[in-house]
């Protein structure tokens, strides 16, 4: 249960789960907050909207790797389960293996449903960092579509320099 009534942030639909940690994305009045939740607390990373220079999305093979690992783990549980069904199985062992299989299959389904994986980077004058919660192409596109108007509004005064077609020089 959490109380977000007085929160200055709006939660964005992006998150990433790891072993004993989780990363979430929040939108503040003038910045984006990446929250890394660990066993004992939270660490924060801020990207100010007016400083974001570029966003890159690069497809990765993490989804395929995760799928392979989860299939192997599910099989490790399922194969003894199938072997047990032929004899007179111990109910406790059978239940344990069945529960394990279900967990791995559920994680496998979630991994497949969330779509292709990616690495998203926000580039600012100070740093060029991976934004961990934006780890799936579909959610990255959705969140960036939400952020785009706010970033452009925050940078409204920053007009791109006018480039002279003849010389290629930029006006001051």
């Amino acid at each position: 249960m959490s109380d977000a009534r007085s929160s200055p942030y709006t939660r964005l639909p992006a998150r990433r789960f790891g072993v004993a940690q989780r990363a979430t994305l929040w939108l503040g009045s003038d910045h984006i907050l990446v929250v890394h939740e660990t066993m004992t607390g939270e660490s924060y990373r801020r990207f100010f909207l007016r400083d974001i220079r570029a966003i890159t999305i690069r497809a990765t093979r993490r989804r395929e790797t995760t799928t392979t690992v989860l299939i192997v783990l599910a099989l490790v549980n399922l194969l003894p389960l199938v072997a047990l069904t032929s004899g007179d199985p111990d109910v406790r062992v059978f239940s344990l293996l069945a529960a394990g299989s279900l967990v791995w299959l559920a994680l496998l389904t979630a991994n497949l449903v969330r779509g292709p994986s990616c690495e998203t980077r926000f580039s600012t004058p100070a740093h060029d960092d991976v934004v961990a919660p934006l780890s799936r192409i579909r959610s990255a596109h959705r969140v960036i579509a939400m952020l785009r108007p706010r970033i452009l509004a925050a940078q409204a005064g920053d007009e791109p320099p006018v480039v002279s077609p003849a010389t290629g020089d930029t006006a001051p």
Binding site: S7, Y9, G41, R58
Partner: protein
Amino acid sequence: MSAPRCPSCQAELAIADGAVGVQSASCFHCRTAFELETFPAQWRRVQAGRAGELVTGEEAACYVHTDRRAEAACDGCGRFMCALCEVRVGEQRLCVACLDGGRRAGRLVQVERSRTLFARVAVRVALFGLVLGPFAPAAGLSAIVLAIVGLTRPPSVTGRRYLGSAVFALLLGSVLTLGWLWWWMMMFGGSGEVVFTEYE
């Protein structure tokens, strides 16, 4: 002003100056394909910092740099600051000392980089207490104390208070502590003697 970089090899990308928007890109060096979206800030010139003007005549001087003209007073301590010393944090104008002090004390949420959430620690300690056997009361008491500390400390920067975690830790900590105390009383207290007498 510099060009965007490849997300894989960090080489500078060759894109037209002033280009803003989404485009499919490919790194000339490592051949990595990716989507690139540039914003107007990509082409903004980084402004040089101000060093502050030299003090002349009867003007107030900076507390730290006595040869520089004071441009503002610190919102934290009231000392005069030159342009070099002034740090803007949200609506506040702070000197470096107040910025550092405020960050250490956790009063400046805007510059906070991490926060310990005692309610979450309390839950972990309480759960750990379940497998600690005779030391469970120590874990239970620790969980209760941590949960109470968690309730009194500021919540997460995002506003979440983790009330559920604190309540859960309080309950589990109480069960662990009182449960073991009850068991201890049963074994070695007045009731325990009755049990042993029956066996004899």
